[in-house]
């Protein structure tokens, strides 16, 4: 079942391609009446954390894995541990030209993303391979490096 998600205008992320099947075996037996394309009712776009689709590939999967594992702390909005921490870091360092929201960054490389995800940084713990596989990590890296003019995708 594909679920189309409403894209809140206050979100920097484009979420139109998100959603999809859960990683679990649950038979999705009924269309959800609580999710509406018009965005009138409850919707997961502010919650994130939904499992990436097994069908998605390439950058689409990169975005989905990012939404599942990273956006819960690194999206725009309130109560985002990663975004808030980066805001504090840049403020203390006097950096004013860097966005605390990872998807808005133009300097990220897959190598740096891999380093942080496997080593952790400050209060961000590292992630195991049963959480984010090497393949998915490379896709997250490619997804976040999209806006980097110096990064050439092979």
């Amino acid at each position: 079942m594909k679920v189309k998600l409403f894209c809140g205008s206050f979100l920097a992320l484009a979420l139109a391609a998100c959603g999809g099947a859960p990683s679990s075996d649950v038979a999705a037996s009924n269309e959800s009446p609580s999710i509406s394309d018009s965005g009138e009712l409850w919707d997961t776009s502010l919650t994130f954390g939904f499992s990436a689709s097994e069908d998605a590939t390439g950058l689409e999967r990169g975005q989905q894995v990012y939404d599942q594992w990273c956006a819960i702390c690194h999206a725009d909005g309130v109560g985002m541990a990663g975004t808030d921490s980066l805001k504090r870091t840049y403020m203390m360092a006097g950096i004013t030209d860097m966005s605390p929201i990872l998807t808005e960054r133009t300097d990220l490389t897959p190598e740096y993303i891999e380093l942080v995800v496997r080593q952790g940084i400050k209060s961000m713990p590292y992630f195991r391979k049963t959480e984010v596989s090497d393949e998915d990590l490379a896709l997250i890296g490619a997804y976040l490096a999209q806006n980097n003019p110096d990064y050439q995708e092979e």
Partner: protein, 561 residues
């Protein structure tokens, strides 16, 4: 590759090959770059030789594979340490108590077996997170509310097994208490279903706790007697609405009456959410924004009263409160249910609290109705509004607050890398709160730790509604010497707490023995009983050696750590 202690490299290789035959070689991890990911990311011994370490990891995808892994572990005498998602940061993450254990990583077991909308329960595997279950309920359009913890990336089962708590309803916050039915792989690989699950053909495992005979479920929480592979949990019909109210009292001595009335309304089920006690004159409540914390810290008049050695002058704070229209103490009480009903509940509570001389009560934030609209959801976690976690919506908002506190305590010579929780249970009364504040202030001072202003305004948490958790978060840093002193102080605090009759309800992997040692009535009768059970169920002592201070025979008397 590094073999577990007491296991030859040749034997270890054979065991790893046997594990790989069960789960596939891609799900057996032995490279240092992989096994180090199972250490505690917040360990006070991070990067040191004496940190708790894993020799390998094996990740099954179903119960049958867990059984086979346990049989192989017995055959080759390999120490195994099972975990669900390893997100109990501050309590050790995934790290094994017995260094060199092979991690039984259950993250791949992430099936939601059943969600029943009409009978309000779910049955899940250990890898299912709060986000997973919540999103599945929403995706399927079920009119259900679930109990919620923060951070939401943790395991539903793992949290319950470690006696974790939610932030939501009084009847559901105690997560282990809220479970119904369990499937367990025993240390020898045998499979048992408890309660109604033991009756083939019954579909009632998540609807009737007991089945027949002794109720053994508790034996598998915080224990090393089995690997839980499935659990049922109760859900609730969608709450329809939520509201909260803030009660404030003007005087220092009013805390006793405030807690007494809260006990009355909560224990009778009229206030049915989680109460947050606070002290408005001594600091912002939990859930306040960074800006509020900054405003508090830059309030010169308040700081001159609070930044003193020991307990601040109550008369000065009462005077400050009276002039600024804020209370000495406060209680934020919460209600879940149909709008008209919780309105009546609130009105009853309001009147009851206002019997305390000088007390005043006001609605706190707007009434929230389900299903949430976009606009409503966007307001959650913002100041003056409900937190997602109180409504049963997953988030890492609380985690974000903890990171904020970690960052604030960070110094150039001891940059923060995480936190360590000390979590003693204390009685739910004002005298005990005052005593605990004094005792834990003194010990931190004695160890030379700086205590920020507001210590005497920080009140314990009411996750377990008939007692208090006096939760203290210590900063874990990159400075090994600072961490060593923190560890030393933690051990001392366990003993000091015990001398007052207070004991931890859960603890970090490094302190399991220290905590069990203070629960020592009648010559350690509780530990001795646990050891009898351990020896009976796990004669080779392969499963989770040292968890809760319970060591298998061959590692007892200091053999394990």
């Amino acid at each position: 590759m590094r073999a577990p202690p007491g296991v030859s490299e040749a034997t270890f290789r054979q065991a790893l090959q046997a594990f790989a035959n069960v789960v596939g070689s891609e799900w057996v991890f032995t490279e240092e770059s992989e096994t180090r990911l199972y250490a505690d990311a917040y360990s006070p011994r991070g990067g040191l030789d004496n940190d708790l370490w894993a020799s390998g990891a094996v990740a099954p995808e179903n119960t049958e594979q867990v059984q086979q892994i346990m049989r192989i572990a017995n055959e080759y005498k390999i120490p195994i340490y099972a975990f669900s998602t390893g997100k109990n940061l501050g309590y050790g993450g995934a790290a094994p108590v017995y260094s060199g254990s092979v991690m039984l990583d259950l993250k791949r077991m992430n099936k939601i077996i059943e969600i029943n909308e009409k009978r309000h329960y779910a049955i899940v595997e250990p890898g299912v997170t709060l986000f997973d279950l919540y999103n599945e309920i929403q995706k399927r359009g079920f009119k259900l509310s679930m109990e919620m913890m923060d951070p939401g990336w943790g395991s539903v089962i793992g949290n319950a097994l470690d006696h974790g708590c939610a932030h939501t309803t009084t009847y559901g916050r105690d997560r282990f208490h809220d479970h119904c039915g369990m499937e367990v792989v025993l240390p020898d690989g045998d499979l048992v279903r408890l309660g109604m699950g033991a009756l083939p053909g019954s579909n009632m495992s998540a609807q009737f706790h007991y089945g027949f005979g002794p109720w053994l479920d508790g034996m598998f929480s915080q224990s090393n007697f089995g690997v839980v592979t499935q659990m049922g949990f109760h859900l609730r019909p969608e709450h329809e609405a939520y509201r909260s109210g803030l009660i404030q009292v003007p005087r220092f001595e009013d805390l006793e009456a405030l807690i007494d009335v809260e006990c009355h309304v909560t224990h009778s089920g009229i206030a049915n959410g989680m109460t947050h006690f606070g002290s408005p004159v001594q600091g912002p409540p939990m859930g306040a924004s960074m800006d509020t914390f900054k405003k508090f810290a830059s309030n010169k008049e308040l700081m001159s009263i609070l930044a003193v050695d020991g307990r601040p002058d109550a008369a000065k704070l009462e005077d400050y409160g009276a002039r600024n229209g804020i209370g000495y103490w406060s209680a934020d009480i919460k209600f879940h249910g149909p709008e008209e009903i919780i309105k009546a509940q609130w009105e009853y509570c309001k009147a009851k609290f206002e019997e305390i001389p000088g007390a005043w009560a006001e609605q706190h934030g707007p009434v929230v109705r389900f299903p949430l609209t976009q606009e409503q959801e966007a307001l959650l976690n913002t100041e003056g509004n409900a937190e997602k976690v109180h409504l049963g919506v997953p988030s890492l908002n609380r985690f974000s607050m903890q990171q904020f506190l970690n960052d604030m305590q960070s110094t150039p010579d001891a940059p923060s890398t995480g936190h360590l929780y000390f979590a003693p249970m204390i009685p739910k009364d004002a005298a005990s709160v005052m005593k605990a504040q004094d005792v834990f202030y003194k010990v931190q001072k004695d160890f030379g730790f700086k205590i920020p202003p507001g210590h005497f305004g920080r009140l314990p948490l009411g996750w377990y509604y008939r007692s208090f958790i006096y939760l203290v978060a210590f900063n874990v840093t990159k400075n090994a010497e600072v961490n060593r002193r923190t560890e030393e102080m933690y051990r001392e605090m366990i003993k000091i707490a015990a001398s007052h009759g207070w004991g931890e309800y859960r603890t970090h992997a490094l302190f399991q023995k220290d905590v069990m040692d203070v629960y020592n009535f009648n010559d350690n009768a509780l530990l001795r009983l646990n050891e009898v059970i351990k020896d009976a169920l796990d004669p080779n002592g392969v499963l989770a050696a040292g968890k809760s201070g319970i060591w298998p025979k061959h590692l007892r008397n200091g053999g394990g750590s």
